[in-house]
Subunit: 253 residues, 2 copies
């Protein structure tokens, strides 16, 4: 990486360092390669450790670097495009659904979920935990909330536990006609349980996708899905699952 | 906030502290209120400053707190829903477009943009800078890349500079029939110019929405829009501009 000293510039030091590091990553490092340690990097670029760390954090936010426990800081592969919006609406569990059931419980939902579902605060809902794999890696964890009123026949069925129960639950849900759905994406931090499933530390930045499923004039189910923000870009629209390999912002800096 | 000492727990200390702070924010603080300084907070909860900072960073990621220069840390208002996907496709500048033109230049695009547009690396493209306001606040900054081949008649027009030139440019673009569009959302960090427009520090977390507009069998324009991640949740789907006021993840922790 040479021993380029940073000249004095009007922009914040860590920002200029980030630009210099980005160029070095493009030209001198390959995907998966481990970066030199912080002390060495700081010395080479003539910056304080704190400045270096700020620049590394930026590059992690942008998906250029990954910090992995017991490994160090490595050059990240390009983000994977994961389709979250489709032209056709579909119930969870419908053919082509990318999610795999993990387990399922029945409990009173968090207040905001009860609000969105318009159920009473103490009315229990079915909570299905699912996971989404891409290229053999877990990219997202989901909690799917289904009010008992959306699956009124379920209690009458001798539904077993675990994934089989989830299948019975989703089959009941699909009896209703899906009238529409909408989604919202926002930045969040990984809850401890999601973090474990996604192989991240609690609090790692995640993209939270909240989807409301509408049937019979109300919200019949609510999905809160947590995607790894470091490895995923969420795709919407016509090309569905087609990945956009280029990252225009990355090099637009 | 009382003087609750944190008991020893298996989860990381900052994570537990975050949960405690979240409850305090819900019950004792109102939107816009300034938090006590870090030294006082650390003392009250019996944690090190570093632990406190980690917890505050988490809450900032989740949109619960805002750190503002010269003000301190304040309790953030709920995030604003901003519609980024619509059922109907529309060219930039079409009626109902939420973006306002700022200026426009012609230059060789970044390599990744040239790749996505399938233009030559040195072929100049029109670069339109636009901004999006919601409730009087700038929530997003956009760079819209339009290859000269998408607006072949433009050079023949006596197009003036500034917003008027942008209008001429978008009018030319709209002559083509829009065949489709797709979008991708990912986490990024604010470039210096975007940060200034969004009233954030360079490197602040942003949601980057890349939209490709298809016409005549190719990508006729490319938009790279940078949304404030602290104040925005991006909405897609049937309800379009309808805001989802509830934040299910917030209270699901």
């Amino acid at each position: 990486m040479g021993t380029t000293q940073l000249e004095s510039v009007p922009e914040p030091k860590y920002w200029h360092l980030k630009t210099v590091l980005t160029e070095a990553l493009d030209s001198e490092f390959s995907v998966g390669e481990i970066l030199p340690n912080e002390r060495d990097l700081a010395a080479r670029f003539g910056v304080a450790r704190a400045t270096l760390r700020q620049a590394l954090e930026q590059l992690e936010l942008e998906g250029r670097l990954q910090r992995r426990r017991g490994v160090g800081t490595t050059v990240a592969p390009p983000r994977v495009g994961v389709a979250v919006g489709t032209e056709q609406h579909a119930w969870p569990g419908a053919p082509g659904d990318a999610w795999q059931a993990v387990d399922c419980t029945t409990a009173a939902p968090p207040a905001a979920v009860a609000g969105a579902l318009e159920t009473g605060r103490d009315e229990p809902v079915h909570i299905v935990r699912r996971t989404r794999m891409t290229h053999g890696q877990s990219v997202a964890a989901e909690l799917l909330y289904i009010p008992e009123s959306s699956v009124p026949e379920l209690s009458a069925i001798d539904a077993p536990a675990g994934p089989a129960r989830v299948r019975a639950l989703l089959r009941e849900l699909q009896r209703m006609e899906l009238e529409g759905q909408d989604s919202a994406v926002e930045l969040g931090s990984a809850r401890a349980d999601d973090a474990k499933e996604l192989d991240r530390l609690p609090g790692a930045p995640v993209l939270v996708v909240t989807t409301r499923y509408f049937a019979e004039g109300r919200t019949a189910a609510l999905s809160v899905a947590t995607y790894r923000a470091d490895t995923c870009r969420l795709t919407f629209g016509d090309s569905g699952g087609v990945e956009i390999h280029q990252d225009p912002q990355r090099r637009a800096s």
